[in-house]
């Protein structure tokens, strides 16, 4: 944690309320996100118990698995989930704009521009917490290799038709969430934590209720007390007043309320199966419906508070103006969405269980690049983030106290003005280090020439080297003037692509060699056993 963030936490303790950690919103918040609040079953790692899902804060769709050990009920849950999620995703697939993409020409090996389609907007999935993202990945992994009866009439437990497709999409969202700065799948606790510092530790910030309590405490209550209440307070029935955001549930709920309700449902089902005539069956069907409703009510009672909390959190975030570079990163998300749409449409097989060496290296390299890009963009968009970089000596802000025109010594001299900047910051500048400032959104480079002593402040001489036009005299406005307040960074504003990796067919033997024939065989479905949990 940076010292500025640490101070923010202490100010929050003193004020009894969260303090800003950002002055703009650093993630895209879709106008129509799909919120997903899942619950899992204790003890059956990953078995879904139910969920609230939907795009309308006032009309969530409740999905429930009344007996999580029952494969048919689980499949029904997944099919229903597909019925909500897939139409939502499809709603973004058709609206496209023309765009250009750089590709490597297979014959000449040159980088060329090709016409391409780009979806005008992309779907956005919001889950309450980081564990929710893991669960999305788990659901994706469990579904994408399933076989439907149509794909394979022999398959022992065919999955409902759209379930494998949902698995591929959830896998894509889960993978994309690993890319720094992406907004396709967001955990609300992470996004809130990015924009506010609370008076508790980042560990405790994982509790959505406590985090919101600090950010917007109810009237008359300090953040600390409201958070304590969200964490611990129990009602007369010994249940948490603010249920955990899931997917895991509170053991007191599992044992005292859920387990008996599921048992009752099981009994009602057995009784119905044993019914001897129509009249009796009617009666018992009524019991079963009631028992099922009881489980549904329980699931709803544990998910609805979280559902409302998620929307409240989104409303709080929407009060912040969007950072200037967020649209740029969202465009990358749109590319990622469009590309996956195309892969699905082209009938490509689901994402493999494990990436081959080249794909894995590519992913890693692109994540590193995106992290650097994100770090730079967040600092440029937000003075509070930049303050952290200035404190770390990676940027400095100051006033221009002198400008001297100078020219390069070539046949066609170009402008190389020297500017003197006075700053209270302490940048770690090496000899001839390059520094960058934003000139109408584009980075202008300067070279560090030297420093003059001036007591407490540092006085730095810099030579501007680009973005001044082609003429002998610099274009108007391209050279700073005396009295300007500028902010220079030691890090680059744009990230160039890293070293080029070979195509998968040329994977070196040190990394397992080319994928060869085994990779061409489609991945098989998971074997099915009696006691599967997902």
């Amino acid at each position: 944690m940076s010292l500025i963030a640490t101070l923010g936490r202490m100010e929050a303790v003193r004020a009894g309320q969260a303090q800003p950690a950002a002055t703009v919103c650093h993630r895209r918040l879709s106008a129509r996100p799909l919120v997903f609040v899942p619950l899992t079953t204790a003890g059956e790692a990953g078995a879904p118990l139910g969920a609230l899902v939907g795009t309308d804060p006032d009309a969530p769709r409740l999905l429930v698995v009344a007996q999580p050990r029952d494969r048919d009920l689980r499949f029904a849950f997944l099919a229903e989930l597909a019925d909500v999620v897939l139409p939502y995703i499809d709603g973004f697939a058709a609206d496209v704009e023309a765009a250009e993409r750089t590709e490597t020409d297979p014959e000449t090996g040159k980088r060329i521009k090709v016409e391409a389609e780009l979806c005008a907007d992309a779907p956005q999935l919001i889950v309450p917490s980081r564990a929710g993202i893991d669960f999305v990945r788990l659901l994706g992994r469990s579904m994408r290799f399933r076989r439907t009866a149509e794909q394979d009439p022999e398959t022992p437990y065919p999955a409902p038709p759209r379930v494998p497709l949902l698995g591929r999409w959830l896998t894509h969202f889960g993978e994309r969430a690993r890319v720094p700065g992406s907004s396709l799948l967001l955990a609300l606790t992470d996004v809130l934590g990015l924009h506010w510092t609370t008076g508790q530790s980042s560990l405790e910030d994982q509790h959505l209720g406590a985090l919101l309590a600090w950010i917007a405490p109810p009237d008359g209550l300090s953040g600390a007390r409201a958070a304590l209440r969200a964490e611990l307070a129990r009602g007369a029935d010994d249940q948490l007043l603010c249920p955990p955001a899931g997917p895991a549930t509170d053991p007191a709920f599992d044992n005292r309320l859920l387990a008996p309700a599921i048992e009752r449902y099981d009994r009602a089902r057995t009784a119905l199966a044993a019914a001897e005539d129509g009249l009796e069956a009617d009666d018992r069907l009524g019991d079963l419906t009631n028992a099922e409703k009881a489980v549904r009510d329980l699931v709803e009672s544990r998910t609805l508070p979280t559902w409302q909390a998620v929307w409240r959190g989104l409303d709080l975030l929407r009060e912040l103006p969007e950072g200037a570079h967020v649209a740029d990163r969202w465009t990358r998300d749109r590319w990622s969405f469009t590309a996956h749409r195309d892969r699905v449409a082209a009938g490509e097989p689901p994402q493999p269980r494990r990436d081959d060496a080249v794909t894995a290296a590519n992913k890693l390299a692109s994540r590193e690049r995106e992290q650097a890009r994100l770090d730079a963009q967040e600092a440029l968009d937000d003075p509070l983030v930049m303050a952290g970089r200035r404190l770390a000596g990676e940027a400095f802000a100051g006033e221009v106290v002198d400008v001297v025109m100078a020219y390069s010594e070539s046949k066609r001299p170009s402008p190389r003005p020297l500017i003197t900047v006075r700053t209270a910051d302490r940048p770690h500048l090496g000899e001839r280090a390059k520094v960058y400032r934003s000139l109408d959104g584009r980075p202008q480079t300067a070279e560090f020439v030297g420093t003059q002593d001036a007591g407490d402040d540092a006085v730095l001489v810099l030579r501007i080297v680009d973005k001044m036009g082609r003429g002998k005299e610099p274009e108007a406005g391209s050279v700073p003037e005396r009295g300007d307040r500028l902010c220079f960074t030691l890090f680059e504003h744009d990230q160039r692509g890293g070293a080029k990796l070979p195509d998968p067919e040329h994977t070196p033997w040190t990394h397992g060699g080319p994928p060869g024939e085994e990779a061409a065989v489609a991945e098989t479905a998971d074997p099915v056993t009696e006691e599967d949990v997902l």
Binding site: I4, L7, G16, G46, G199, L221, L228, R229, A233, P305
Partner: protein, 327 residues
Amino acid sequence: MHERLDPRAEPPHRAHVPDLTADGPKGRAKRTRLALGAAVADGGWTLLDHPMLALDVAGSPAFLEPDAVVVHPDGSWTVVEIKSFPMLDGSADPAKVGAAARQAAVYVLALERVAAALATDGEDDGEGGEGEDGGVHGRVPAVRHRVLLVCPKDFSNLPTAAAVDVRKQRAVTARQLTRLTRLEDIADALPEGTCFAPDRPAGELVEAVERVPATYAPDCLAACELAFHCRDRSRADGAVATLGRSVRADLGGLATVEDVLSAAHGESGDPDDPAVAALRRAAALRAEALAGLPRIPAPAGAHATETTAGAHATETTAALQGVPACP
């Protein structure tokens, strides 16, 4: 086990599974020791199902029960840990694997003590004969530092296993064990008559617990049943570690939130102290960046002292009844 950890040994056709039942943990630990000694002398594969090990923790013995220990034909030992979290496509949740590795490391340490003890017993015995305590001729049996983690495979209940290297966890735990203050020393420092018996009145118990020095950090929340109590106390003291273990590192000697804030705002502290100077620069930069933002009004009546839930966590929680929990 053969496939994952010891492929060069003869494949196990059958394994001994000695009976380890005995009275009480001490008896079972002794049976385990005998069985281990016998298995080494015996050669071949032996599986000890839920053996009992004793380990000295802060001066008093603690009894540990690993899921299983396997003795290899070469006489070396491996800890087996069975967990309920799934191994998906050959990998599992790193946090959970880490916890399992830390747990297994403790078993490895305990086994190493047993191995050393068996070797000495063997020597004392002389004559090359097998001692009544199952001595192993002065040769210390090796305890392998790769343990076998057994988990459900993917989404099923079928078992799968992977070898996990616990060298690092073993070293850390060994260091922590030697550094632990001896329980007796802690007890000596407490006033005469302090009692932790659960049948005491709650107020008295809380007071007793308060007397034991504790250094709370947020990681306690996942590990210790006293965490909410310690957190209340730590918050009431304004201790900076309440906000995270790493927080303390940047703050020099400043231990409380109020000290840090007053140093940062120039109300106290020595400006030549590098920690204080860094704090002031951070505070100035932060204020400059926030200057453009509208101030957030503090909630009515909210003040730091209000967070002092003090010693009585339950009371605090009780006092909060009747206010909506999910804001």
